[in-house]
Amino acid sequence: MKTTTSWAAARGLGTLAAALPALAVLGVLGALVGCSVQSSPERITTTPSAVTPSAPPTGTSTVPPTPAVDVPQVDADISATQPAATIPPVRVRVADLGIDMPITSLGLAPDGTMGLDPNPAVAAWYQHGPAPSWGRGATVIAAHVDSLVYDIGPFAKLATAAVGQEVVLTTAEGLGHRYLIDSVQLIDKAAVPWDAIFDRTGTARLTLVTCGGEFDYDTLHYLGSVIVTATPVE
């Protein structure tokens, strides 16, 4: 192997040069490694055992060792490291609940909460978090349960969802991703673990969120969140 013998040559020269002043060693190795490995292939004809007094015993097996731990190695070239584009979900359907809504992609609202479409009949996908194409983490879809302008939205029915019902998420390329509901919860908003709701790790899953429970007529906010989780159908 070209690179292997190149290094052997470098090592041999380094050993021979050990008695020389350090600067000389630096110069020799610098030249070898920096340039000569590529420009002087003829050096490669030297074998390790011939030039390396300190080489391992040659009378025994020279099978190289194997690493004690398996360290992941990846090609770091820019062409190999660009992530695939995230494909946004564009429609959510829960046939059992009569839900069939378009989805818009949104980030944060100005107050740091998740951005939502003002129309309860349009769901929002948290665009900075996972999508079905990620293959991991929670895809979060949320919609207002009601609105002073638009009235009650389809996600009001989430409160009556049942485990086992099917959710279909359609992504922008036209693929339908099927999920089965595995939990339906009404949680006091202050107790909702939002970082866990927006978790980007772990197995792929779908989380549908809206509001519910009691309403604070002073602040015009619900006190609870309806959280439905669903897992992909293989």
Partner: protein, 287 residues
């Protein structure tokens, strides 16, 4: 910030490794290793244990979870029998708990092999933002980084870095000698993902014509929405007062007639206003 290891006669990749001893995330350090010296394949030993076998140029290894401490790293020829004959003297890497490092074996500006230990910025990012770290690890003079033809980083020298916080997206980046706009690398599209530190290394040698870009990403630096306030009318509340309930029911009836809740509310308020006027003028009767 980068700390250049005094490698003396450095040549080859620098690496480290976890030798069993699992570290908890709280008190451990993370270490990645980039091989940025063109043309040579090496083996890497950490504390005398073979850790990276046949480590190729342009390859990134890790991250390794290591207990905080100092690790002795030796670089040998590929397929050496052990660490007894390193091609460079063993070096010690001090790693602090809670930090994230990348050790990069690369060329100096003058083309000498060396190694630098970079500390990666893992501070939390605002939602919607990504971090772009650019590191000069190439045998080349100072450079500018151009995005869309405009210099966004200037006078970056080997072996230093500059960091930008950007809206998440894709940047068309090119590298040019500082003060110029003629690219020596790129332009190339670099994805700066949300909540991720995207670290771009310029490596290789300008004189040898093998300059290249390597990319390392550190994710999980995002921040999450603080809540989801998904309702504002109380129309499905479980604690609706009688007045509210009646209003809602009336609203539904109005909807059936083609009206809206708003219409009803306006009408109702108009009625109340009329009542107030009536009272003010003394014409109101008890209702």
């Amino acid at each position: 910030m980068s700390k250049t290891l005094a490698f003396g006669i450095a040549a080859g990749a620098l690496v480290a490794v976890a030798i069993a001893a699992p570290a908890s995330a709280a008190d451990g350090a993370k270490l990645s290793v980039l091989h940025g010296i063109p043309g040579v394949t090496v083996d890497v030993y950490v504390n005398n244990a073979l850790t990276l076998d046949n480590f190729e140029p342009g390859t990134l290894a890790g991250p390794l979870d290591l207990p905080a401490g100092t690790y002795t790293v030796a670089i040998t020829a590929a397929d050496a029998a052990d660490a007894s004959a390193p091609v460079i003297p063993a070096v010690d890497l001090p790693l602090e708990a809670g930090k994230n490092y990348t050790a990069a074996a690369h060329l100096t500006e003058a083309g000498q092999p060396t190694a630098s230990l970079f500390t990666n910025d893992i501070q939390t990012l605002n939602a919607g933002e990504g971090r772009l770290t650019v590191r000069h690890a190439a045998a080349a003079p100072a450079v500018d980084v151009l995005a869309g033809g405009t210099a966004v980083i200037t006078n970056l020298t080997n072996p230093t870095e500059q960091i930008l916080t950007l809206p998440a997206g894709t940047v068309s980046a090119a590298v040019a000698a500082t003060g110029t706009t003629q690219p020596v690398i790129g332009p190339a599209d670099v994805t700066v993902a949300e909540g991720v530190n995207t670290i771009v290394y310029a490596w290789g040698s300008l004189a040898d014509g093998n300059l290249a870009l390597a990319v390392q990403t550190i994710d999980g630096l995002h921040s999450n929405p603080s809540s989801i306030p998904a309702g504002e009318a109380g129309l499905v509340a479980t604690n609706q007062p009688m007045d509210q309930t009646m209003l809602w029911m009336a609203g539904l009836a109005t909807l059936m007639l083609g009206g809206t809740v708003i219409t009803l509310t306006v009408l109702r308020r108009r009625g109340e206003a009329q009542l107030a006027l009536d009272r003010a003028s003394g014409t109101a009767t008890d209702r």
